[in-house]
Amino acid sequence: MSAPTTAREVRDLVADLLARHDPATTERTAFLNARWEAGLAWVGFPVGLGGLGAPRALQQVVEAELAAAGAPDNNPRRIGIGLGMAAPTILTFGTDEQKQRFLRPLWTGEEVWCQLFSEPGAGSDLAALGTRATRDGEDWVVTGQKVWTSTAHTARWAILVARTDPDVPKHAGMTYFVCDMTDPGVEVRPLRQITGEAEFNEVFLTGARIPDAHRLGEVGDGWRVAQTTLMNERVAIGGREVPREGGMVGVVSDTWRAHPELHTPEALDRLTKLWVESEALRHAGTRMRQQLAAGSPGPEGSAMKLAFARLSQALSGFEVELLAEDGLRHGEWTMFRPELVDFTGRDAGYRYLRAKGNSIEGGTSEILRNIIAERILGLPSEPRVDKDVPWKDLPR
């Protein structure tokens, strides 16, 4: 069978799947596994790995048809790290065995993934990380501390970067692994945020064992493998179509409409300005998707992440200020582990505080500006002091 290239061919395959597995009567996981076997999980993936080797753009057709038929999905928000970061990395760098073992339950959601990259001492400077992995027979033994790990407490597997050679410059001495989160050497502790809740975790690795068969890529090649992961993370941002007033601007505009007694001319102009920028950001997203569809992806995603963070912070800050007497009050500070995170959910105070993270998570706005300046505008890099020094000799 040659790969389908038209929407019509894909629609036929979906119809066939639906004919064989009626979503109304098929158990959810069974349906998802059948979908996987039909190559309709991610049609751009190879045959045998949930795909058809088809153009990625056809995936939209699959999703639309299945949604129309009321088929269950794999709850992509719940398994975002697996789908968005682990899967493309495994596909690019994994062995055949690794692909066969990991991708299917990753996609069906039977196994949740998390990401063990950041450390307390290695945030923006990921390559400075100090979690050590030392070889012991067929295994690696891993010791260190990771942080900002979402879904660590529900995850079965983690993608992990660790230092395997401290005697070479920092970018050269890292290796990339798949870590079993059920290993007794792995301890997960919730990390409470300024919102009171704990979306993220700290993960303490104390002699955790990883078989060498779970290494992704070559020993010492961890930086390059991690770049693939992070590039896919960036692509994932801003990918969805957003209706006008989608997101924070809609929430805050509704607050405005609900409270005429709080209106002032100054506040109206500020809100309108933010509305304008939000609408322009929406246009930028549309334009980016159209470029992608036309086969000429641009670097505009970086601009969108910067603008998104700035606007969500400005809008949510505006809302608290506008609410004044009510802005002084808060819903709750209770510590809990949320299932899913909705930046625009809960109350104004939560939105304001949570939005502060938007310019830090997934690459700080400062690092993003460096990247834009150097990679997009071609401005020269600053003098580097950490390029040629063995990792162990770096000041920290």
Binding site: W256, E279, A280, R287, I376
Partner: protein, 377 residues
């Protein structure tokens, strides 16, 4: 009131045809309006370059794009006009494009559209458009360039077909053959030679304004609502101006980036200093949003989208600010050299500042936008 409903996604890319048009215009401007040449003539008696204007109008047909083919135009629409405006913004070429090919043409085209609804177009308006399409005449819409959506329009009075009144700060009027004048709700065509048009020392050296005095000056009365036509032209102008502003911002950003790569201080290229890099990255981010907004406005103008007004007001209020920010950063980051008359960056600063005012300041556009999207005082 809730915001306007969503509608099918707009096309925000540049088509191949548009890119070809851009290439032709850019080549012409590179050959005939490089910055030394533009700077060299700003203190001439006639700062506008009418030879270049003819080349643009006649050789490239860049001014007849939105005029129907039946009238000698290209029937191409405003997306293409926006691309020309973007290139003209990049070069601050001193040609009466905004006044003639956008504002005056826009008003006449709107009258034509009104005529179609009434069962017959105005023959005089058609004749004027034909002259414009051929490049045989240049026109100006006699309103202050600072006129904003929903704002007051000039008070010219008509006694029969004799027009009397003064309108200040009119764009591109000094070189116009034809003046398009609103009196009451009627649009008149006036031969410029019959009016008193006085050039004014202008903040914008490459788009000087002029004062128009009519003193029982004869005009040709056009049928249809003149006020509707002028208000439509102001909206068209604001939308197209957004693309000009994208062009200004792009020139300022890329010129500054190039300068900072080659300028050394402290033994390093100045462009390697992080605080400057971050400011330029922010500017680039603004430009990404501005371009998307300007394209949306051009597309909405071309398709007559239901939410045309919202889309134009968003684009103009954003792009005006981005162009000015880019120009101000360009001056600052060029250091001393950016403060000199001999470096062209001041032409862009003056254009960006005048464009901030042109067809309404960002604040005026936001004020007009807010009630349209349900944000009421």
């Amino acid at each position: 009131m809730s915001p306007a409903p969503d509608r099918p996604e707009q096309d925000l890319l540049y088509s191949d045809v548009e890119e070809e048009l851009r290439a032709s215009v850019r080549a012409l401007l590179a050959a005939r309006a490089d910055s030394a040449r533009v700077l060299g003539r700003v203190e001439d008696e006639q700062p506008l370059d009418l030879d270049l204007w003819r080349a643009l109008a006649v050789d490239l047909g860049a001014t007849s794009l939105p005029i129907p083919e039946a009238l000698g135009g290209q029937g191409a629409g405003l997306r293409e006009t926006a691309v020309v405006a973007e290139e003209l913004g990049r070069s601050v070429a001193p040609v009466p494009f905004l006044g003639s090919a956008v504002l005056a043409t826009g008003a006449l085209l709107h009258l034509l559209g009104q005529g179609a609804e009434r069962g017959g177009p105005d023959a005089q308006a058609e004749a004027a458009l034909t002259r414009l399409a051929e490049g045989a005449a240049t026109a100006a819409l006699v309103i202050p360039l600072s006129t904003y959506p929903g704002g007051p329009l000039p008070a010219v009075s008509a006694d029969g077909d004799a027009l009397t009144g003064t309108v200040r700060s009119v764009a591109d009027a000094a070189v116009a053959d034809l003046l398009v004048v609103l009196a009451g709700d009627v649009l008149f065509l006036v031969e410029a030679a019959a009016a008193r048009v006085t050039p004014v020392v202008s903040l914008d050296l490459t788009r000087p304004v002029a004062d128009v005095v009519l003193d029982a000056t004869p005009g040709v009365r056009l049928s249809g609502s003149g006020e509707a036509a002028v208000r439509a032209a102001v909206l068209v102008g604001a939308g197209i101006l957004a693309s000009e502003q994208v062009g200004i911002a792009e020139w300022c950003l890329s010129t500054t980036v190039a300068y900072l790569k080659e300028r050394y201080q402290f033994g390093r290229p100045v462009g390697s200093f992080q605080s400057l890099k971050h400011r330029l990255a922010d500017l680039w981010q603004e430009l990404v949003l501005a371009r998307a907004a300007a394209r949306a406005a051009a597309d909405a103008l071309a398709t007559g989208a239901e939410d045309l007004e919202i889309t134009v007001l968003v684009a103009q209020s954003l792009c005006a600010a981005v162009a000015l920010h880019a120009a101000e950063e360009a001056v600052q980051l060029h250091g001393g050299i950016g403060m000199t008359w001999e470096h062209p960056v001041h032409l862009y600063l003056k254009r960006a500042k005048a464009d901030e005012i042109a067809l309404g300041t960002p604040g005026r556009h936001r004020a007009a936008l807010a009630p349209l999207v349900g944000l009421t005082a």
